[in-house]
Symmetry: C2
Subunit: 324 residues, 2 copies
Amino acid sequence: MTTQAVIAIHGGAGTILRSALSIEAESAYHAALEGILEAGQRILADGGSALDAVTEAVRLLEDCPLFNAGHGAVFTAAGTHELDASVMDGATLEAGAVCCVTRVKNPVLAARRVLDKSEHVLFTGEGAEAFAAAQGLEFVDPAYFHTEARHRQWLNARGVQGTMLDHDAASMDARDEGPNEPIDPDKKFGTVGAVARDAHGHVAAATSTGGITNKQPGRVGDAPLIGAGCYANDATCAVSTTGTGEMFMRMLAAYDVSARMEYRGATLEQAAAEVVMERLPRIEGRGGLIAVDAKGNVTLPFNTEGMYRGFARVGDTPVTAIYR
Amino acid sequence: MTTQAVIAIHGGAGTILRSALSIEAESAYHAALEGILEAGQRILADGGSALDAVTEAVRLLEDCPLFNAGHGAVFTAAGTHELDASVMDGATLEAGAVCCVTRVKNPVLAARRVLDKSEHVLFTGEGAEAFAAAQGLEFVDPAYFHTEARHRQWLNARGVQGTMLDHDAASMDARDEGPNEPIDPDKKFGTVGAVARDAHGHVAAATSTGGITNKQPGRVGDAPLIGAGCYANDATCAVSTTGTGEMFMRMLAAYDVSARMEYRGATLEQAAAEVVMERLPRIEGRGGLIAVDAKGNVTLPFNTEGMYRGFARVGDTPVTAIYR
């Protein structure tokens, strides 16, 4: 059974309280995750590559306004949207990523074109948009990324900005101990991602995000960084992360799962659990990750209250979940 | 002796042919490296931190027109300069970086301010410059980065651009075998960096670059990426890399040295040699790195013809070298 093709996705982690999410909202998340898993399943069932399956799943997550990526991305402090995405192919170790794009409809497709068509791995800002335009990708007016729900979150964040930044600074300080969670961390943990293992035994990963609500323009998190928010290697695993981005960058969270498997012989589940439950908490890193290995094992650990997530083996019914 | 404070620096790796470098030019490189090592030594001898020593050494490397960083940075395809830098503190695992800045005199000082003053790790483009301006850092007219030597290199690169891009694409293709070196790879391997171990047993690393001659605007290499071009952890080592940036990104070259020490018990020298001589060549990765560990061991491996490099223990005469 572990040789089946499989796809897993996430839509962000954080303090997702049952009391804060209506039955209707909960159903909408489950339905969205399930539909996207089914789209990935179809690609894998048809013999498609893990790389194509994760690219398509993340494209659909970007298009869904429930998640913080593409349409539905959060606002920066300047009231704009800056989007980041990455993709990696475990078969070739090739990778592509873009950061700080503002008009590319699907950042993950731009990342994929970087992987397919460029000798480079990462493009930022206007250079990334020039590359995407030369590749004929679809551009949108920045207003496309605007949704009412994210706009309200942004206005709320601005209302408490002074306090928020102060408390943020404190909670980011590894020397500061004890609980210190003045704001809803949900606003900060929005990322989407997918990992897959195809029928040929190859793995791939993709990640995309709008970043942090009210972030300073130009801030780049872990999502577009190979080894931090995204990593894939047929010899070990494929990983997509979501959480307090800076901590995942400092810990090379995605690659660390792979390194623990390769250098210590850890299983996928052990390696992922060590990174999420032991390594990241050392520097107050909060969030989770999804990972598959070349044998088709899947693990979805997180150290927060919840993580929008799911996985689907070809031929099986998709499984979706939100809380622990 | 291994408990001494020590600093190591590099000024890029590549095909540095003895025949191509005059005696005068060679002496100029040795003198520049020696002077910068002495400045780092003084900080360490006075009980200064490894973090301060690497920041200052890279600031001086940026100011020296011989090296591709700061004043003396290469030109982009648009005839501009886009600069990247990063710094990491092994004592706290805190990190700071900027990419694609065009007017900050010393990108490494902007990276250091991100580490010291921001909850974030990486800023790009105008957002990075806005942060640097708010921090009171020195700005220059972009013409400051212009040097005659780099301008000539750029004109040469543009003259063969079509060919160069074709051959580049081929040589970047891991499936393409055999030697394929149509252009002087020196133009592509320019990066500067420093690593140090201070009297308190802490390590730190810093890296800075102007990137690749005639690069597409917006291309970001390994230099500003934690784990790719720069990494520091008191528990293992501090690393700064230089080479074909994309391969170092895909291999997480800097962090991989640390992972091999932590998870497999490799020595600093073994781990660094494995990454440079075995791991990177698998995907045609060329270049080198400098690394120190908390015991004060130093290693400077490279898989190219040469690497501008040197190290200095407090109390000893600096050692500098260019060729194998």
